[in-house]
Amino acid sequence: MKFSYNWLNSFFEEDLPKPQKLADKLMMRFFEVEEVKKVGDDALIDIDILPNRASDCFSHLGVAREIAAIYNLSLKEPEIEFKSGSKELTDFVDLKIKNELTPRYVLRGIKGIEIKETPEFIKKRLEVCGLQSINNIVDITNYVMLEMGQPLHAFDGGKVGDLIQVRAAKKDEKIITLDEEEKSLDGSILVIADDKEPIGIAGIKGGKGTEIDEKTDLIYLEAANFDGKTIRKGSKKLKLQTDASIRFSHGLDPELAEKASRRAIKLMEKYANGKPLKGSLDLYPDPVTLKTIDLSIKKTESLLGVKISEEKIIKILESLGFEVKKESDLEVKIPTERRDISIEEDLIEEIGRLYGYENIESKKPKAEVEATKKPEDLFWEDRLREVFKASGFTEAYNYTFIDEKVKEIFGYDDLVEMKNPVSAQYRYLRPRLIPHLIKNIKDNEKRFEDIKIFEIGKVFSKKEEISVGAIASNLNFREMKGVLNSLLTELNISDVGYERSSNSWAGEKAAKVLVGNQEIGQIGEVSKELTEKMKLESKPIVFQLKLEKIVKLASKTKRYKKFSRFPVAMKDVSVLVPVKVNFEEVLTLANKAAGEDLIETDLFDLYQGEKIPEGTKNLGLRFHFQAEDKTLSKEEIDKLLEKIISSLEAKSGWKVRKK
């Protein structure tokens, strides 16, 4: 909110410190100053008034009160006394309000006004605060709003019937506002109406029909207090936010309405040569009472961590306009404009900030020694990250959101949708990591040949869960599977298997990743259909795993297994089998035939092509033999190999060649 330095200065007899110096101080004692700028012979100070202090500090008076407290100055209140004429307001108009959402409504009148140029000092001050001068009457209502924080509205009395009321708008009731927009209203919105029609949207904007013009002679001035929630909702519904609606939305002090109405009439008497009507119409059924809060010196010390003398505390509170009575604790009476103060801690904050947080020394907390904990998920996530890194993968963090196009390409339904995304890009929550991972490849493939990326992040479908995903542009299926196996091995997960199974993103060249019978994820080559739709040059391999399942299977404990000290013998054979045969089938047969002395089987070659009959493939196998308790003799090894070979050759269509 913008403040005029000269205006702030006008509340004091003394000169305030220079604008930048004042701003620096406000920053440490009050709120953040966003800008200090010289404007003519004045300066603009832009202060970030936060919502708790909007009710009193969206005004120069409010900020001046803060300055008075900070510098220990006395403040001059604005003049509000004027001289009424003989005519009574009630002779012109009556007020009717049957509505709980209007805690107070003050109406005053002034007659015989002259519409003319606004005095220079008012014009200048409004300008610094970003408001353009319109005419003396409108400017005065704006001036008082910026000065005291109370929004005001001036109706042309000649255009208003003899009754003013505040009521809920009727369904589809229309009003043309001051900026000549037609607004359609409903029952949740309050209007000011005369006996015929709405003449203003309460707390938001005045109506065109009762606008002040050159010929205006009589003015009805409204200084009201409307329910903040109602105004906030109405303003959102109408998409119409005004200086008035912002102030009402935060909630205002009803006491302010009366003072501000007097102030405006005073200024109109002076600068529009009007004669104020006698009396006012003031509907205020439930006047606010002064709050009293007990403040414990001990609690103050405990919360701030510094001993501040009772005397100093009282001085600070009084400088803010609080009345303090000494009982066993302090009894503090809160001025009505300080709607933000409702509990002891609020008072302690006032003491803390005016005492100065920089004057509170830091002290280490007393604490018990206790072992710290880390979530299981995070522990395993980090373990996975390390293995990915060691395997040459780069970690990406992608958006949680996907758009309509991605939804269509991947054929997702049942997505979690956002109600109010700022852009269509963020319409849905991602159900998988894959779409963004593929996009990562696309975005990088022009510059990088060998892209390997992983991500561990939240995905959303029926529930929120953490997914582990990886993509590689230049690895083949077996290499990618190797990476996946290393990950699982590092987490001490064994009994891992792969079962061919098609899925939506990979088509046929895909498999389920199983641990025992449980599916923990999928691996596969991104389908041609998808790579075409995504305009991808490479054919990446992807896998995705559910972290939840991995965490359940992972184990922190490893057991040392005694290794055999006897030599390992290696024998190579090649097996010609029908193409449909899985490697695992061959492995299982070999293991069964040779028993535990066959400790490992490598696939060192895989051939399919012209040199062998169509419909077959050739597997080059290397068997590693080793016994736990002795050196295997040549005869023993040959015998084991023969067993394997005869078991393989027992299958029809399989042929073994020894090397």
Partner: protein, 338 residues
């Protein structure tokens, strides 16, 4: 017929021509090896005439000696050459061949570093859901209903799910933790949060926060200052000053913004700190009694501080990154630098 002269000529010519160690080895085998040509001569000597035997023996011995000598010299020469050649061709400025190392996201590294500092001070790490209820995200944290304070954080609402939002901060996890645990409480909460804002170089729709909470019997502003000063100095690895300024958050009272002296210019003023010498790094305060009450604890008995910082911003300051969107771009030219 044994033609020693011819053999000698041929051998010497071949030795002369040999230019690699491999060839020398072959020649050694061919001429003076066990089954070599000189051995052949010795084998044939007994068959020669009596008068020739002695002469032949003498000549063969001479030849053997000569060839041995020549081969040895040539070998030494070649070995020396090869060695020299190797030394000459050694070029330490040739480009190295990179091992295939991956990299971790700078926000992962930051999260580890940040939480490690707090773990060192006795804080545990906890986490919570990204999709939250309105209660945990707002009401329990003392945000008044239908009040502009709720507009301080642009919120993404979930369609069709009443009262579900994408959490705007990690603070809901405070409540969840206090509901389940009795004080003393010392926790930090890293996590992704969401703001429904148009993105630019310093704003993202999703980003990371680190939340901290310490609740005990007598925890004060002064204690907070101590913890946060230690933390900032540890993370920024230096002599960093910290200052507290008044602020407002619905869930803390008193509330403050925490600035640290600019780590780029050491507080003398630069473009990073807009010439102020200070960088705003986190929001904090003493936990509001309503928040403690809403978590099922007694605010008469327990008090403490909470703080929240944007991890993206801290990392940007630390590494000199000028656009927050790089973190979520998947851009390898960025990611590979970490």
């Amino acid at each position: 017929m044994i033609d020693i002269d011819n053999l000698r000529k041929k051998a010497l010519s071949e030795i002369k021509k040999a230019d690699t160690l491999k060839k020398i080895k072959e020649l050694e085998k061919r001429y003076i090896g066990k089954d070599g040509k000189v051995s052949d001569i010795f084998k044939k000597i007994p068959q020669a005439g009596k008068e020739k035997r002695a002469k032949l023996g003498k000549e063969a011995n001479k030849l053997k000696g000569e060839l041995e000598e020549k081969l040895k010299n040539k070998r030494l020469k070649l070995e020396k050459c090869e060695k020299e050649e190797k030394v000459e061709s050694f070029d330490p400025t040739l480009p190295g061949k990179k091992p295939d190392l991956g990299s971790l996201h700078p926000l992962t590294t930051a999260r580890k570093e940040l939480t490690d500092i707090f773990v060192g001070m006795g804080f545990s790490v906890i986490q919570g859901p990204d999709m939250e209820t309105g209660w945990y995200n707002f009401d329990a944290l003392n945000f008044p209903k239908d009040h502009p304070a709720r507009d301080m954080q642009d919120t993404l609402f979930v369609k069709g799910e009443k009262e579900k939002v994408m959490r705007t901060h990690t603070s809901p996890v405070q409540i969840r933790h206090m509901e389940e645990n009795d004080p003393p409480i010392k926790v930090v909460v890293p996590g992704r949060v969401y703001r429904n804002e148009t993105t630019d170089a310093s704003h993202e729709i999703n980003f990371y926060q680190l939340e901290g909470l310490m609740i005990d019997k007598d925890i004060s502003v002064s204690n907070f200052k101590s913890v946060i000063t230690q933390f900032v100095n540890e993370y920024f690895d230096g002599d960093v000053n910290v200052r507290l300024r008044p602020s407002f958050f619905p869930f803390t009272e008193p509330s403050f913004e925490v600035d640290m002296s600019c780590s780029v210019c050491d507080g003398s003023g630069c473009s990073v700190c807009s010439q102020t010498g200070w960088l705003e790094v986190l929001g904090a305060g003493m936990v509001h009694p309503n928040v403690i009450k809403n978590s099922g604890l007694n605010p008469e008995k327990w008090q403490g501080f909470a703080f929240g910082m944007g991890m993206d911003r801290l990392v940007m300051i630390k590494y000199g990154i000028d656009d927050v969107r790089l973190f979520y771009s998947g851009e390898l030219r960025f990611l590979e630098q970490f």
